[in-house]
């Protein structure tokens, strides 16, 4: 059995850095495109609604693992060479935008029709109606589900290992193979994931509780 020294810990820390970066890229990219998806999904134009619905079905109906493969090898097949992390970032962005889009679609539709009518009666246009009136309320309603998805996304970044990306889980595997102490290493890796995800889950649950109380 090998000892766990500074090098091993540093290697895990490198992995953690990529896990966090991937999560942030996926969440931010997914947030931007997801907003577009949510708006298209609630649009008055049926072509937009249907396109967005199709997009959501595809990404919700296939495994993230497969999405990673398709983007990683698919882009290479197109003759464009990009780095692994770029491909992974694109795949996570597409994946997250479908899920966030659907979550926020629900939030938008949960806002009473009277809000849109009042905004219309005041002469507000689509942009202001959405930006000032509907979306701030919709995001608030969707916040617990959004945080829940973020937690899924953080854990989901471990799948990036499959295309050769060394994030936290893969880094753990490598260190474990070198030191022959899988239980300890994966214990540490698991503890790191837990330390990130659990406070988020807790925060989400608390928010949900508070909203349930406010609605009573």
């Amino acid at each position: 059995m090998g000892a766990i020294g500074q090098n091993e810990i540093l290697f895990l820390a490198q992995g953690l850095k990529w896990t966090l970066l991937l999560s942030i890229i996926g969440f931010v990219g997914g947030g931007v495109f997801g907003l577009g998806i949510a708006l298209a999904r609630t649009s008055e134009r049926s072509a937009l609604r249907k396109t967005a619905a199709g997009y959501i079905s595809v990404f919700q109906g296939t495994p993230l693992l497969m999405q990673l493969f398709v983007v990683y090898y698919g882009i290479a097949l197109l003759g464009v060479s990009i780095e692994a992390w770029m491909a992974v970032a694109i795949a996570f962005t597409l994946h997250a935008s479908a899920f966030l889009g659907e979550i926020w679609r629900g939030g938008i539709q949960a806002i009473p029709k009277g809000q849109t009518e009042a905004a219309n009666a005041l002469g507000l246009h689509y942009l202001s109606r959405m930006k000032d009136v509907v979306l701030p309320q919709a995001f608030k309603v969707s916040l617990p589900a959004t945080i829940g998805f973020l937690v899924q996304l953080i854990k989901g970044t471990s799948l990036a290992a499959i295309v050769g990306f060394i994030e936290l889980a893969r880094a753990g595997q490598i260190v474990s193979n070198q030191t022959y102490r899988p239980l300890l290493i994966f214990g540490i890796v698991g503890a790191i994931y837990f330390t990130i995800c659990w406070p988020l889950s807790l925060y989400g649950a608390r928010l949900e509780n508070r909203m349930a109380k406010a609605a009573r």
């Binding site: 009277g114 009518e117 905004a119 009666a121 507000l124 000032d132």
Partner: protein, 253 residues
């Protein structure tokens, strides 16, 4: 009568308006002219089309046939005509529909800033003026949920007034209120009427109709059945359906 209505060209007119919801004929051949400063009360049994009628005026509902003119603008499908009409016509809803995530003041400044391009300071000045007028200025920094129903509805009136509309539509403004709060909202509306605002009110408050209306219009099954000044309307309703309706609601009041 509080204010003699102007005899000039109409502020608002509906000509041969028909509306369907699928197979349901919601409005049948509606003809209505409202002059500047006139106060109209619309009443009738539920489902008679009175709310639908006023919601057509500011294009919250689309009409299938006929013409609606507001201040010389013919309402059609173009965003331009809808914008023009909504700038001139304010609306107050049964369920207030204040924006719950904004303060009272923000509720009132949003539309002037976004639609008219008014600066923030100026918009706030206007908002304070109208909040003062509905006697709720001291609540300006609170959120809607912190106010009573009557207070919320008065804010909703102020919010509409901040756009300085030429006419106001009221869609059963007191129906969602507890009885003790009806008066404060009606008093606000009476004040508005005294100041010469053109008003179309869907309401069952017959005391308000008597006191304020220039004309009372009775609707049933999507049609205008009877139209008369309040004295005539309440004393000598000519149509049997009006008589039956008045008999019913006055018995309860």
């Amino acid at each position: 009568m509080l204010h003699a209505a102007d005899t000039q060209s109409p502020l608002l007119s509906m000509e041969a308006v028909d509306k369907w919801y699928g197979a349901f004929h919601a409005l049948k051949n509606i003809n209505l002219t409202v002059r500047k400063g006139e106060k109209i009360v619309l009443c009738g049994p539920s489902g008679s089309g009175k709310s639908t009628l006023i919601r057509c005026i500011n294009a919250l509902e689309k009409i299938e046939k006929g013409t609606i003119m507001v201040e010389g603008t013919k309402l059609d499908d173009s965003g331009k005509s809808i914008d023009a009409v909504r700038r001139e016509v304010g609306m107050v809803f049964q369920s207030f529909n204040l924006f719950p995530h904004m303060t009272i003041l923000e509720n009132c400044t949003l539309a002037p800033m976004r639609v008219r391009g008014t600066g923030k300071a100026e918009a706030e000045k206007i908002a304070r003026k109208y909040l003062e007028r509905v006697r709720i200025l001291d609540q300006a920094d609170k959120f809607p949920a912190q106010l009573s129903g009557g207070q919320q509805q008065r804010v909703a009136i102020a919010r509409a007034l901040c756009m300085e509309p030429k006419a106001m539509l009221f869609d059963e403004p007191t129906s969602a209120l507890d009885p003790e709060m009806v008066k404060e909202v009606l008093d606000t509306m009476i004040g508005l009427a005294r100041d010469g605002m053109t008003m179309i009110c869907v309401t069952h408050e017959m005391g308000f109709a008597r006191q304020v209306a220039d004309r009372v219009i009775f609707m049933a099954s999507g049609e205008i059945i009877e139209e008369a000044p309040p004295e005539t309307f309440f004393r000598n309703p000519s149509h049997p359906r009006t008589q039956a309706f008045l008999g019913e609601i006055l018995a309860h009041h």
